[in-house]
Symmetry: C2
Amino acid sequence: MPALPDSVKSLAESYRNRRVMITGGMGFIGSNLAHLLVSCGAEILVVDALLPNYGGNPANLVGTEGRLAISQADQRDRAAIDELVRGQEVIFNLAGSVSHLDSMKDPVTDLEVNSLAQVILLEAARAHAPDATIVFASTRQIYGRPDYLPVDELHPIRPVDVNGVNKMSGEAFHTLYHQVYGQKTVSLRLTNTYGPRMRIKDARQTFLGIWLRRALENGPIEVWGGEQRRDLLYVEDAAEAFLLAGSVPGLIGGVYNIGGGPSITLDALAERVIAAAGSGRAEHHVFPPERKRIDIGDYFADDRKFRTASGWSPRVDLDAGLARSVAYYRERMSDYI
Amino acid sequence: MPALPDSVKSLAESYRNRRVMITGGMGFIGSNLAHLLVSCGAEILVVDALLPNYGGNPANLVGTEGRLAISQADQRDRAAIDELVRGQEVIFNLAGSVSHLDSMKDPVTDLEVNSLAQVILLEAARAHAPDATIVFASTRQIYGRPDYLPVDELHPIRPVDVNGVNKMSGEAFHTLYHQVYGQKTVSLRLTNTYGPRMRIKDARQTFLGIWLRRALENGPIEVWGGEQRRDLLYVEDAAEAFLLAGSVPGLIGGVYNIGGGPSITLDALAERVIAAAGSGRAEHHVFPPERKRIDIGDYFADDRKFRTASGWSPRVDLDAGLARSVAYYRERMSDYI
């Protein structure tokens, strides 16, 4: 169990004995949130379909045994979700996929998991938990190639892959159900997030996962392009943003960027990963035309709207976050590969 | 068979003997397009699932017998669509629903018909008709309540109902498949369209349908609000915009507003409908709170982007369009109620 950060202690009070549900709760961010909520003393239900090739991994919940309930339900299953949402006070809605390649190969499944499943959750909550606060994990990917930097929430939405279209639509349903039915929804458009419990088998969830694994195995990190800038968010900071989104009434109905630390080029990031691991090497590649077409160039977030409204700011800087990630995977590599 | 308008005669040449498919081809706009394409001498395949309560009506194709092929396939059926798209040169993709109420009552079906079905069509075309031009019927409804008037294509997309979210997503797939795979897609965001072959049983397709029916039956036209302004597009003008979109190479990959004549308040429009019918009366209603919440106020389009690129402009003014509609339904009311 991680020690509860000081600034979260005040948050903890608001979750003590509250009934919270986490969809995708065995996934990367969902499981980190589950660990934090255990520390808060919440009454937790983790829902995760454990679909193959997604982020769900039972190993992510090691250490929470006996302190939360788990249901392996699929969010596309309306009857199951109807039962599970009953009585929930806060629903952290993180189930879904963020894989570019999978969404292009199987757009129908991507649509079901990222768009249809959100309608089903919202309808179930409308019927059986109309007062629940619902926090949706959206993504910076829906902006596509930025017109300007940093990107704020007024930037046009212009997804560059099937996953982006379906995430856009999943988020739009949350906003709509607030406007039409008064459900208490909040959407967080996360930037690239990394840290313990991310998928490191491949690049399906985040390129940083496979980078870290390669570095730890003293292998090559593939850097495509390299000059693109990104802001990186440590997962505990992301989880804290979710806790705030689920408890600060003034945030309800809104859509917020969640950024990270100062932006950094991918080339520089690769060096920092290699330094943290003490092994690995960077291997530079030029984008082939079919990848260039969907490359979005630089992205970093203007997240002042959320910072101002919630008091949140990221606390774990890149080197500290990478060091913690390296320590985590050194100890538990076999659970993740 | 309607006489081919002069300005369409030059278009006719480009469709002679071309293989075209119309999804939703027994629906309101799709069937008008089918009639025009018959005049052009195209080789036409109409695909329509004839779902109950949608716009599909076999009576819409009276007069085209023996001059087009018909398949009652459902666009959600990938295997069927795979077969049907083979060899098509232009696909007019109009299948879908535009009912606000149905989408709120059954959001899952709305998602399947308006979002999933578009992915299936695009995937089928990618595999079996990669060079086909695909013209998608999008809608002004995805803009939601306008920030400014007239509304151009740069206006934020902010749907106010489930149908709007799914139409937004259906359109986004068309744009995406052009960007990623080079498919020749064009999307037309239609304003309120009216005319012969529209659904007049109820307000599912357009409020003007039920208004016209009530006027013809010398009954009350329900006007909610009344001060809201709209631009109205006569269906033959809409169909001509589709023909251009399917044949002018410079339009490919774009998204275009299609507006109508000068904007008019609903109050004034009701009077024009009553005058055209020579019967009926307006009944004024104040919006109840739940409808007020989703009312979008005024809408009229800035469609200069399409006019400039295609040379199109609407040719049938409101009084002429209403007169033709009245004449059509007077003669064939029994096919539509």
